[in-house]
C-alpha cells in the first residue's frame, strides 16, 4: 500500500467534500424539481437549515427503545462516510484503494440498510415494521442489480478495485460500449430505488400506503434525525459519484497529480449539477409506482444489468 501525500490529501478532501456537499446536492435536486413544476422553490440551502434546526433540538427517544436505536444514526452516518471515502470522486490514488473493492462497497451499503431497518423495527410501531419490510424488499432486489452493474465495470477493467477500475475506464480511448450503456440504465434504475426517489418511493410523502424510507425514520428526532437525514443525502451523493466514476470518468485525476485534483473539483461539481437536474427531470415526468410494481421495476434493472454483462462477454470480449 503506497502512501503518497497527494493521495492522502485527495482522500481527506473527498471525504470532507462529500459530507459538506451532500445536503447541497439534495437541495439542488429539490430546487430543480420545484422549478420544473413551475414553483419558486425553497432555495438550494434548505437542507442545511433543516440540519441546523434539528441539531439544536432535543432528541426524544421512545420508552421501549434499545441502545441499538440510539447507535444506529451514528452507524449509518459512519457507513456512508466510509462509502464516500471509497468511491473515487476526485482522484484515483487513494490510501484506501486496495480495500476499496466494489463488493466491499455494496457490503457497506447493505450494512447501512440493515442497521436502519433494525432500528425501525426496534420501537415496535406499525409504521416502522412496515417501512422495514418494504425497504428490505427493495434492497433484496436492488443489491443483485447493483452487483451486476459493478461486475460489468469490473469485467471491462479486469479488477474489482474501484479506484483501479475508474482509472482503466477513464483511460480507454473513445469507444462505444453498449454494455456500459445498459449498465448505466440499470444503475440509474437501482439508484432511484435505493435512494427512495420517485418512481419507487416518494421522499416527501407520509401516507401509509406509499412510504418506504420515511416510514423507517418516523420515530427519530433531534440530532438523531439530523444524522439520518444527512446519511440519506450522503447516500444520494455516493450513488451519484459511483455513477459518474463508472460512466463519466472524464476529469478524475489520475494517480495523485495535484493539478489534476484542482481540475477535478469543478468537473465534479458540474457533473453533479447536471446529474441532479436530470434526476429532478426523471422525478417530474414519472409517477410513483404501486409498491407491487417495484419488484418488476427492479427485476428490469437486474435484467438490464445481466444483459450488460452478457453483451460484454459475447460481443466485446470476443
Amino acid at each position: 500500500m503506497s502512501f503518497s501525500w497527494a493521495g492522502a490529501i485527495a482522500q481527506a478532501t473527498e471525504l470532507v467534500l462529500a459530507v459538506l456537499l451532500a445536503p447541497l446536492l439534495l437541495g439542488w435536486v429539490n430546487q430543480c424539481r420545484a422549478w420544473l413544476q413551475g414553483k419558486g422553490g425553497p432555495g438550494v440551502l434548505l437542507p442545511y437549515r433543516v440540519l441546523r434546526k434539528l441539531l439544536v433540538k432535543d432528541a426524544i427517544v421512545a420508552h421501549g427503545a434499545s441502545p441499538l436505536f440510539r447507535v444506529v444514526p451514528y452507524v449509518l452516518f459512519g457507513a456512508m462516510c466510509m462509502a464516500a471515502a471509497i468511491v473515487p470522486t476526485l482522484g484515483t490514488d487513494l490510501p484506501y484503494a486496495p480495500a476499496a473493492d466494489a463488493i466491499a462497497l455494496v457490503g457497506i451499503l447493505a450494512l447501512a440498510r440493515v442497521a436502519l431497518a433494525l432500528a425501525a423495527m426496534d420501537i415496535g410501531t406499525a409504521f416502522g415494521s412496515l417501512g422495514a419490510r418494504r425497504e428490505m424488499l427493495i434492497g433484496f432486489l436492488a443489491e443483485p442489480a447493483l452487483l451486476m452493474v459493478l461486475f460489468t465495470a469490473a469485467l471491462i477493467s479486469q479488477t474489482t478495485s474501484l479506484a483501479t477500475a475508474v482509472e482503466t475506464l477513464s483511460q480507454r480511448e473513445l469507444a462505444i460500449y453498449p454494455s456500459l450503456a445498459f449498465a448505466g440504465v440499470a444503475f440509474t434504475m437501482v439508484s432511484l430505488a435505493e435512494n427512495a426517489r420517485i418512481p419507487v418511493d416518494n421522499p416527501a410523502t407520509h401516507l401509509e400506503l406509499t412510504m418506504i424510507h420515511e416510514a423507517m425514520v418516523l420515530e427519530y428526532s433531534g440530532r438523531h434525525l439530523a444524522l439520518v437525514e444527512w446519511a440519506a443525502a450522503l447516500k444520494l451523493f455516493v450513488y451519484s459519484c459511483i455513477g459518474i466514476a463508472l460512466f463519466f470518468p472524464f476529469g478524475i485525476a489520475r494517480g495523485g497529480e495535484a493539478l489534476g485534483l484542482l481540475y477535478a473539483l469543478p468537473a465534479l461539481v458540474a457533473k453533479l449539477a447536471i446529474g441532479g437536474a436530470l434526476l429532478a427531470l426523471i422525478e417530474t415526468v414519472s409517477a410513483k409506482m404501486r409498491i407491487f410494481r417495484a419488484p418488476e421495476f427492479l427485476g428490469t434493472a437486474f435484467m438490464l444489468a445481466v444483459l450488460a454483462l452478457l453483451v460484454h462477454t459475447f460481443l466485446e470480449a470476443a
Partner: protein, 224 residues
C-alpha cells in the same frame, strides 16, 4: 467517406445497433400496453433499417440500401399504421395480460439469451461478414419474440410477437450474409404484408364471433 471508419469503430457501432435491438426486444417483452407495444415494434424496425443502411455504407454493399428502404417503408411506417388502424377499429386498448408474471418472463428471457449466444457462437465464427458477432443477438431476439408470443393471452400482442420474430430474422440475415437476394427479400416483405392484412381480417372475424380478442376463447378444441 468510408475511410473515416476504422474497422474497430464499424464493429462497435454495429454492436451498438445490435445491443439496442436486444434492448427493444426485452422492452417489448416487459411492455403492458398495446399502443406502446406497436410503437416499440416500429422502433425495432427503425433500428433495423438504420443498422442495415449503416452496414451498406460501411461495406459498400449497395443492395442493402434498398433493403433498408424496404424495411423502413414496410415495418416502420406501413405495418404499424395498419396495426394502429386495426386497434382503433377493434376498439382494443386494454393492457396486455400475461400468462406468467413479468419478472419471471424476464428471467426466462435471460436464459434464452444465454442459450442463443451459446448456440450462435460456433456459427458466427464461420460467417464472412463484419457483423457476424451479432448473429447471437439476432437469434436471441428471435427467441425473445417467440417467448412473447407464447406468454400473451390476447391476439394482437401475439401477432406483434410474430412480426418481431420476422424482424429479428431479417437482422440475422443482415448479420450473417449481408441480406438475402433482393427477390427473396421482396417475397418475404410481401408475405409479411399479406399476413398482416389477412390477420386483420381474421381478427374481425374473431371479434365478431367472440366479442373479444382474448385467446382463452380459442382454447376449446382439445383432445378428448
Amino acid at each position: 467517406m468510408s475511410a473515416l471508419l476504422t474497422p474497430a469503430l464499424v464493429g462497435q457501432i454495429i454492436n451498438l445497433f445490435a445491443a439496442v435491438l436486444l434492448l427493444v426486444s426485452f422492452a417489448m417483452l416487459a411492455q403492458r400496453r398495446i399502443l406502446s407495444l406497436i410503437d416499440l415494434f416500429a422502433a425495432q424496425g427503425l433500428v433495423l433499417a438504420l443498422s442495415t443502411a449503416f452496414v451498406a455504407w460501411a461495406t459498400g454493399q449497395t443492395h442493402l440500401y434498398w433493403s433498408a428502404g424496404l424495411t423502413l417503408a414496410l415495418k416502420v411506417l406501413l405495418v404499424p399504421w395498419i396495426l394502429h388502424r386495426l386497434i382503433r377499429r377493434l376498439q382494443v386498448k386494454w393492457d396486455v395480460e400475461t400468462l406468467i408474471n413479468i419478472p419471471t418472463t424476464m428471467l426466462v428471457g435471460l436464459v434464452l439469451v444465454i442459450l442463443a449466444f451459446n448456440l450462435a457462437q460456433p456459427v458466427s465464427e464461420l460467417a464472412g461478414t463484419v457483423t457476424r458477432g451479432t448473429l447471437g443477438i439476432a437469434l436471441a431476439s428471435v427467441l425473445l419474440a417467440f417467448l412473447m408470443m407464447i406468454t400473451r393471452s390476447k391476439a394482437v400482442p401475439q401477432l406483434i410477437g410474430f412480426l418481431a420474430m420476422e424482424n429479428s430474422l431479417f437482422f440475422a440475415a443482415t448479420a450473417a450474409t449481408y441480406g438475402m437476394p433482393m427477390v427473396v427479400e421482396l417475397g418475404i416483405a410481401l408475405d409479411v404484408l399479406v399476413g398482416v392484412v389477412i390477420l386483420g381480417v381474421f381478427f374481425f372475424q374473431i371479434r365478431e364471433r367472440f366479442d373479444s380478442l382474448d385467446i382463452h376463447h380459442l382454447e376449446q378444441l382439445k383432445e378428448e
